[in-house]
């Protein structure tokens, strides 16, 4: 009979030994296969834990059991409290509005001056004013019945140019509809803007959408659609794809404070945070959604305050201060790309123009209110003051540039008006990648019909196929 060395056996048992490695997922699928029984990670975790096995969960952080002084609930990480206290939205002053220069165009804290070159500042100023001129002329065109619809960007030019200047030209842009300046900064030409509004044959989208629904692949600006906030979760999906392709690019997604009330806004913020997507959410809070003032839109501290609730770094900026918008977007971009995280920017501004050409805003707000923003706190005049302070701009230059932009836009409009519309065939193309037989039949039918009844249709306005 072999002699048992008790001391040895004990030491053998008490030696720390690593547990056999268990492949959790294999065990799950084996059990599932054998018993046709669905076992989740969690139930398996629990049963293993009961049996005295400890292992690192691959899917979620389960609180360490020894931390008894903290709540163990998987849904939150916080402390116990014995005070019965509701967290209220009115306990603090609101997220402050970041600004770089005051209304006189003076830099407040020199360390925050982005020190953009004269050339760059002039480009931004010229862009903002060109957009302003285009808005005025196309607004008038609509009043005269030359185009069916228009939406101006009056008062929000600073948010467009300040943010787009801080982006990489390859970053993807998703907009709502009041971001023409972003597209203009990217290089969308006056011709392209005006052709879209006129829906002529040179319009990229063949005149299928209402005016101001721009979009162009070459400039990474995704086509605008009318339904509000739908672009938000889409932008998150694109950001996820960019993250996977490791291009070092991000997505910026613009939307108004009204659109933020849509369910899609909630979806987007939550998906972006949980899936760690490099995206900048850029909210233009201009005080109104058509006629609805913000106090009927939300009761919290604007949009920026929602970000932290989703786990999103958030900031509020003076949207009429182009340098502040630039700084904030630049920092947001860096955060988004380097940490692969979403960022939320709320740019505070004021919608000086009517909501659209179908709206008369004097029906729901005072002219004095509008006048205040137009005269006392306008992004264009503030940048002009900054430029004048630097001796980069003066009245003569202003006058010449105004004439120049007017001439440019007028010429473009005249040219666009003369162009015919795309051929009728375009009405049923691009529904699918290839035209299905059923649609082909319908196209043939409408063409035959129009040929027979051509005098009742505006056929001469359209190119022949």
């Amino acid at each position: 009979m072999p002699k048992i060395n008790l001391r040895e056996s004990i030491s053998e048992i008490s030696k720390p030994r690593s547990m056999p490695k268990i492949n959790l997922r294999e065990s799950i699928s084996e059990i599932s296969k054998a018993w046709n029984y669905d076992v989740t990670d969690r139930t398996l975790c629990n049963s293993f834990a009961k049996a005295g096995f400890f292992f690192e969960s691959t899917t979620q952080q389960i609180p360490k059991l020894e931390e008894f002084d903290r709540p163990q609930f998987p849904g939150s990480q916080s402390r116990w409290t014995e005070k019965l206290e509701f967290v209220r939205g009115d306990i603090y002053d609101g997220i402050p509005v970041y600004r770089v220069m005051n209304r006189d165009g003076n830099i407040i804290d020199p360390s925050h001056d982005p020190k953009l070159s004269q050339e760059m500042i002039t480009k931004l100023y010229k862009g903002m004013t060109l957009l302003n001129t285009m808005d005025r002329i196309l607004y008038e065109s609509q009043r005269q019945g030359r185009i069916s619809f228009y939406m101006t960007s009056f008062g929000e030019e600073g948010t467009h140019f300040g943010s787009s200047a801080a982006l990489d030209p390859q970053d993807m842009i998703y907009g709502q509809y009041r971001e023409a300046g972003v597209l203009m900064y990217r290089g969308f030409t006056l011709d392209q803007f005006v052709n879209q509004c006129y829906g002529n044959k040179n319009d990229i989208a063949k005149g299928r959408q209402m005016p101001v629904h721009y979009g162009i692949k070459a400039l990474n600006f995704v086509s605008i659609s009318s339904p509000l906030a739908t672009q938000m979760p889409q932008a998150v999906g694109s950001a996820y794809a960019l993250k996977r392709s490791q291009t070092g690019l991000c997505v910026i997604c613009y939307f108004g404070e009204g659109a933020s009330s849509e369910g899609d806004a909630h979806a987007a913020l939550n998906f972006a945070a949980t899936l760690s997507c490099p995206i900048i959410f850029f909210c233009r809070n201009n005080g109104y959604a058509i006629s609805t003032p913000t106090h009927e839109q939300y009761k919290g501290d604007g949009i920026a305050a929602r970000g932290p609730a989703y786990g999103i770094p958030s900031i509020r900026v003076d949207g009429n201060d182009i340098l502040a918008v630039y700084n904030v977007t630049k920092a947001a971009r860096q955060l988004a790309v380097e940490e692969s995280k979403p960022v939320l920017i709320e740019a505070m501004t004021y919608r000086i123009g009517h909501h659209s050409t179908s709206d008369d805003s004097s029906a729901y707000r005072s002219v004095d209110e509008v006048r205040f923003w137009h005269q006392k706190d306008h992004p264009i005049s503030r940048l002009r003051k900054y430029m004048e302070n630097q001796k980069w701009w003066d009245e003569a230059k202003e006058k010449a540039w105004k004439e120049e932009t007017k001439k440019q836009v007028m010429q473009t409009v005249v040219k666009a008006e003369k162009l015919k519309r795309a051929p009728l065939d375009e009405m049923l193309k691009d529904v699918y990648d290839e035209m299905p037989p059923l649609l082909k039949e319908q196209l043939d039918a409408i063409k035959a019909h129009v040929e027979q009844y051509h005098e009742h249709y505006p056929v001469d306005n359209y190119e022949k196929a």
């Binding site: 692949k217 086509s223 889409q234 932008a235 950001a239 998906f271 691009d430 299905p436 059923l438």
Partner: protein, 377 residues
């Protein structure tokens, strides 16, 4: 195989215990047989040229297709509610382990977010495969599907598209799913130019059609009849293959009546055709429509021109159901060939009920009766 034996064993054990209580015998047996299904699944046969095959049920065929899609396209990703651990219907089992967390992942519980996110991925050039847990819960994403996914290519002048997007969703009656685990929403989507809507009838089709949807250059909705997930078992080729979209399939040729269905209903109709043959000596031509949008008008019309009679059956309600579209088109194209009014046997114009399901669905006896009407008109 072992799985099936196990299942059968349990079933018989239960049956025996019920038999012991002889006063309950007939009722209990009816209940059991009803619960099992309202149809008999007849496996599809593979041809010798299809190469190596394996026995798969429908959820395994879906997994197999998803596996191949991820394997052949590095930009393809799968996401939705609870897909990481394998999905509530086991369709994504093992895929996260094989392809990693960034390619197979859970999303927050938000359908409009899932579809919007998928559209965005597709716009960026990736191949998103989104899962909606039940077709009943696709409606929060209706806006993203109808206003966004379907119209993107058109509205942008083909500058952008989300053709890479596929949305999968379990679909149809399941015996006890009641209002929100039974719906067949295909007709809502049939009214949406720009998307494709596809419904397979078994594992072999599911694999080939799903791969086609994933690789098609248009956004596709792929409805998986969930009652077939475990019940439908057949030999499925292991190779990577695609089946054509917008192509109806003639399953049995016949001369007297054309019978059209899709998804589970095809199997109900298969039995109906056999009943008609056995009891009425009627020869039915059975067509699986396969693709709801854009649908294969030609195959249907050619068949009705031959038979002169048409029965369309679907689980969804009658009014505004896709049967109406087929009936109106056939009436227009085959007016001179029709010898009886087109019959539609469908769910009723009510929400899908729990305990009344046997009376609600277009059962084989309701379909059989419609064939009698067609013949005796």
């Amino acid at each position: 195989m072992a799985l099936k034996q196990l299942k059968n064993a349990t079933f018989f054990r239960r049956l025996t215990s019920f038999e012991r209580a002889s006063f309950l015998k007939s009722r209990a047996q009816f209940k059991l047989s009803y619960r099992l299904s309202h149809f008999t699944y007849v496996p599809d046969t593979v041809s010798a040229s299809d190469g190596e095959t394996a026995r798969m049920n429908l959820f395994q065929a879906v997994t197999n297709a998803l596996d191949l899609a991820l394997g052949t396209d590095p930009s393809a990703v799968i996401f939705g509610e609870d897909v990481s651990f394998g999905g509530v219907f086991r369709c994504t089992v093992g895929l996260q382990d094989k392809y990693g967390r960034d390619r197979v992942f859970n999303s927050p519980l938000c359908e409009q977010g899932i579809v919007g996110f998928g559209i965005g991925m597709a716009i960026a050039g990736a191949t998103p495969i989104a899962e909606i847990q039940f077709a009943d819960y696709i409606f929060p994403a209706f806006d993203q599907i109808v206003n966004e996914a379907s119209k993107l290519r058109f509205r942008s002048g083909n500058e952008f598209n989300c053709g890479g997007l596929t949305i999968r969703a379990p679909y149809g009656a399941v015996g006890h799913g009641a209002l929100y685990h039974s719906q067949s929403p295909e007709a809502f989507f049939a009214h949406v130019p720009g998307i494709k809507v596809v419904i397979p009838r078994g594992p072999l089709q599911a694999k080939g059609l799903l791969l086609s949807c994933i690789r098609d250059k248009n956004p596709c909705i792929f409805f998986e009849p969930k009652i077939l997930y475990r019940m439908a078992v057949e030999q499925v080729p292991l190779k990577d293959y695609e089946l054509p979209l917008s192509k109806a399939e003639i399953l049995t040729e016949g001369d007297d009546v054309t019978v059209i269905g899709w998804g589970t209903q095809v199997h109900v109709l298969r039995e109906v055709c056999q009943l008609a043959q056995d009891k009425l000596n009627i020869s039915c031509e059975l067509i699986d429509l396969v693709t709801i949008l854009p649908w294969d008008k030609e195959t249907v019309i050619n068949s009705v021109k031959k038979t002169g009679r048409l029965l369309v059956a679907h689980e969804a309600p009658l009014t505004g159901g896709f049967g109406a579209e087929i009936a109106a088109t056939v009436q227009n194209e085959c007016f001179l060939n029709l010898e009886a009014p087109i019959q539609r046997v469908t769910g009723h114009d009510a929400p899908f009920p729990h305990i009344y399901e046997p009376f609600f669905i277009p059962s084989k006896w309701r379909c059989f009766d419609a064939i009698k009407k067609l013949i005796n008109f």
